[in-house]
């Protein structure tokens, strides 16, 4: 039961956190200069966006849940289960970030989900 709660946290908080980080990085703007000093500037600008902190908090929750699960389950089982967030991620991209999720992209996401189901079914 505890493992199930950890899985929920990994998927829910993980996807929500990444969506928030994505929103923050869009607010920062496209990175075109990849020199170390410029990248540090990007990170500082990103840390001034509140969405980034919301995202980091959620992703931190997901990370510690991942650590807890990894001490009990094999990594080749744990990691694929986290892929259940793909459907939620595509929906979040469309409605939270205003992205155009085309039928082809949905098809790709569906294939990824089927692949993940197969990976999980392959558990011994």
């Amino acid at each position: 039961m505890l493992v199930f709660v950890f899985y929920l946290l990994i998927i829910g908080a993980g996807t929500g956190g990444e969506l928030c980080v994505s929103r923050a990085m869009k607010a920062v703007g496209e990175v075109k200069d990849f020199r170390p000093a410029a990248l540090v500037g990007v990170i500082i600008r990103a840390l001034r966006v509140s969405w980034m902190w919301a995202g980091l908090t959620l992703m931190g929750t997901a990370f510690f849940s991942l650590l807890a699960v990894l001490s009990r389950e094999n990594v080749s089982v744990v990691v694929p289960v986290t892929a259940l967030s793909y459907g939620a991620g595509a929906l979040g991209g469309k409605f939270f970030l205003g992205e155009q999720v085309t039928p082809r992209r949905w098809a790709g996401v569906l294939l990824v989900c089927i692949g993940v189901a197969l990976v999980v079914m392959g558990r011994r």
Partner: protein, 138 residues
């Protein structure tokens, strides 16, 4: 929709870094946490003991370093690319996870799981044929 060869190239490069360092970090963390054993944090003393064992594990630190590289690449690519593109495209990492689990952790990876990895890769190819960015740059 905004796409160009340069945009595609830098998107692919950063997703490649994510595919390498994400699974590597997970495997290193898995290896480190397995050495520590099942987590029990019933009392503050147990929590402190766990924290000290985690912080003194070089494998866990290497895992954290790999995941930081993964996270930096993820942040940078999301400054221009769609989340609904980056997320499925970076799922090629599952193939890498299975390979690392098989060869580094010596876990048994069943044929069904390899088939799943192949289907995931197919999904990644389909997503890869959509434009990385569908929103206007801010």
């Amino acid at each position: 929709m905004k796409s160009s060869a340069g945009l595609h190239l830098k998107t692919y490069l950063l997703i490649f870094l994510m595919v390498i360092f994400g699974p590597l970090g997970n495997v290193l963390l898995g290896k480190g946490m397995k050495r520590i054993g099942a987590v029990s944090i019933g009392t503050p003393a147990e929590a402190l003991d766990l924290l000290s064992r985690v912080l003194t594990s070089s494998t866990i630190w290497l895992g954290i370093g790999s995941l930081l590289i993964f996270f930096a690449a993820n942040m940078l690519v999301l400054s221009w690319a769609d989340y609904s593109y980056v997320q499925p495209a970076s799922s090629a990492a599952y193939g890498m996870s299975a390979l690392l689990a098989h060869f580094l952790l010596h876990e048994v990876v069943m044929p069904t799981r390899w088939l799943g990895v192949l289907v995931i890769c197919l999904g990644v190819l389909v997503v890869g044929h959509t434009p990385p960015r569908t929103t206007e740059p801010s």
